[in-house]
Homo-oligomer: 519 residues x 2
Amino acid sequence: MFGFLAELAAKVGHELAPEIVSKLAINKFAGATTPRPRPYSLWSDQEGKICDYVSWPSLTDRSFFGRHLRAAPESFVDGLPVDTPYESEQNHGQVTGLFKRTSPIDCPRSSLLFPFFAQWFTDSFLRTDSNDRRKNTSNHDIDLCQIYGLTEKTAGILRTKTGGKLRSQFVGSEEYPDNLFDADGEVKADYSALPYVSNEKVFEILNRFGDAEDRKKNYFASGLERGNSSVGYTAISTLFLREHNRLCEELQSRNPGWDDERLFQTARNINIVLLLKIVIEDYINHIAPIETPIFMVDTSFPEEEEWYRTNWISIEFDLLYRWHGLIPDEMTFGGQDYGPSEFMLNNSVLMEHGLGGIIDAGSRQKAGRISLHNTADFLLGAEYAAIKMGRDYRLRSFNEYRTQFGLDELDDFDDLTSDQNLEAELKGLYGDIDNLEFFVGLFAEEARDGALFGELMTTMVASDAFTQALTNPLLSTRVFNAGTFTKYGMKMIKRTSSLRDLVDRNVKNPADVKVSFAR
Amino acid sequence: MFGFLAELAAKVGHELAPEIVSKLAINKFAGATTPRPRPYSLWSDQEGKICDYVSWPSLTDRSFFGRHLRAAPESFVDGLPVDTPYESEQNHGQVTGLFKRTSPIDCPRSSLLFPFFAQWFTDSFLRTDSNDRRKNTSNHDIDLCQIYGLTEKTAGILRTKTGGKLRSQFVGSEEYPDNLFDADGEVKADYSALPYVSNEKVFEILNRFGDAEDRKKNYFASGLERGNSSVGYTAISTLFLREHNRLCEELQSRNPGWDDERLFQTARNINIVLLLKIVIEDYINHIAPIETPIFMVDTSFPEEEEWYRTNWISIEFDLLYRWHGLIPDEMTFGGQDYGPSEFMLNNSVLMEHGLGGIIDAGSRQKAGRISLHNTADFLLGAEYAAIKMGRDYRLRSFNEYRTQFGLDELDDFDDLTSDQNLEAELKGLYGDIDNLEFFVGLFAEEARDGALFGELMTTMVASDAFTQALTNPLLSTRVFNAGTFTKYGMKMIKRTSSLRDLVDRNVKNPADVKVSFAR
């Protein structure tokens, strides 16, 4: 799979035009698996039992996660063959132990800005319902719900209703999302109807830190319930909020007759496409295991392809994106170290160092490597839950997923990794490579040839990303034009291909700010 | 457009294989307009004003009707140029008068079974929300919600929960849907959670007849609130309910290990595909303006086509299907005449004559012609409402829709009709053919060359039908197989291409029952 990419990349600009290379590479990944509609989903019968047969809800009810492969046979226990010891709680704990970080392993290529963006980006569509983990509460679209919310009603609450803008606050010349709480620590009346405000769980976690009242002072009103989860997340939201409000001003000066609604809708349309450009041309190009960036947003061909289908986020996409290894035990901003309890749910770090300061520091620090044995302790519970989901929902084995995505099955654990300790450890737990669980295999597979992770994860990330980003209705040939975005909007879209471009327009002294997913 | 069809039909079987002819004809109609995603919808801003610009909700929120063409400019009043007199209430009444039946005009081809089926069929997806007419309460899919409801919750209420079956009652050997009310005229406890039961409006209409208590005795529990609206509707629902329960028995005997859920889901999967087969191979072939049936369900090619897109019912489709002219002033069953107050909301007619009796009588009577000046008085209010919707939502003119669907603009009213009185009447109201409203034009355009209605209506019906029936997920190449339907189910699907086939399996003494959309 990756040899193909390297060959293509070598031809860019002389043998093949960049657009052709991009199209060929996108189609290679997007076509790696069968297109939607998929026959199965996490829809379950009335007793909650996962169904391994096709039903009308499995074909149509997008409140449930989709799935790429039919559930494993029921004769498996917890999704694994009954002849193996993996169904036990003890085994579940042992497998979780595979993820535990003993000493930190650095990512060979990525800066901390990469997980900042990845976490923020995926929170908009990998939205496991905490009350029912079979369900996904997203719209299945890249819709910038982090700043606009999941519905027009939420957007309405977050809007100023003048000039198309989103509510915000200024601290000096720095613009941030508005505070959710008033000076007395109560949710402001304007925000009382935000959907997550009635959910006490969301704020419960604040109390764990012992200084909830302090943290509430800078807790932002946001589109999603996890909108304040970490300094990196809040920084990216702030950047897109600034761009939205900047776009509104530019649109208003060029279209003085437009009302608030049209300014809002048009700025949002542009902003979503800017995000799509950054996702494909900056983020995915960084992930791709090649040195030359080759992927680009090209609206000319996707509608002709069989993978151009309405989005439906799959459970496999949800699980594979648990890149906890990226998160270091500590982060450094302005020369000061911050542990998890300080960089999580604590916007005072952002306010102190400013948006430029956080992005710059993030771009200069190493992320951790995405692999086994590299998850910080505070995230091991999440690994345990992910393994449980894979078993509860009877996901097929690692090798079966390789086949589904056009890759050869592996014959042995030494095909998976050159780390002999890990090989022995996996062999001890699974016996045969064909028993290896999907989730564990994804993270066990060695990153080769400059990739950030193994071949299956790279293929699946790219496949799911292209078939759910390039299908965005704003990129349809009948929508992607100046009638939708205005001439100014089209110019902004053309001029944006990286997070750098957004920083240049929205952060003070941008020349002093490093912006890079690569370290 | 229709010359093309006649040429194709003449080649079936010698020059071209039937599958090729079907594919060419389907693609001709399905490709007559631009494919989805459509830029605009009936989504409106927060003041309820129709928006003529692209917004995220206009691209994604399917709770609103879609629209094929952008709203007409605001300088029009009520959707029409301010220089014409058509914005007035007086004009609205005059235009409604165009529909009034003076003396009944017969349909040249269709039996009454045709409107029975058409009304029943379209009630599942042309579901204008009575509280907000911009909205469509359907799932936008052909999902047999008439008998299964719009959600799994409703389906659960209508199911027996044993053997996969739907609740029903037997009157002698004749199976019907179960009664909604108990002997005391109260909604049975089992049905109290049906979504429409809490809506008093639904039952209010019963009281208009003066014998509500009698009618309640045979009022059926159904999937939709209009499930008892007329004897024809209830007959078709009864037929599909019988087929569902019959399929369950056949599936159970072949798969003794299956639980209720799997039997239900599999029978529904088969039943929906049987409906799709009947829609394309019986109903659409009847509508098509050619003598030889050429359209068939063929799952081999739709996924390769650009029109293969997730469904989104448009307001134009909703309006064009108001085929009130089909409904005669009286219907005859068993030699007895019934007026609207008797054939509406009155299942005793069905119980008295039996399912076979109603279908036979329907097949032997003439339907009315779909045209202006042929709407029965009791339906004129519906025409008034339809004209109002076209104006409120600023639909484009008849000629603009012709262009959008690949047809030439008409130059004059005499291109529209050879009826000189009608021509004069329309000229008096509209002046110029370019001012002619979409809705009125559809019904004014003369049916030529054996068509049931004018060229634009035929083209739009076929285009919207093919692009929303053949996109059903059950017809996907990865779903349409014995794994989904069982071998028995595949055999039933293969053996069903007309309503006749369903009658043969579910009505007693079928040889005595005429079943035909043609008279």
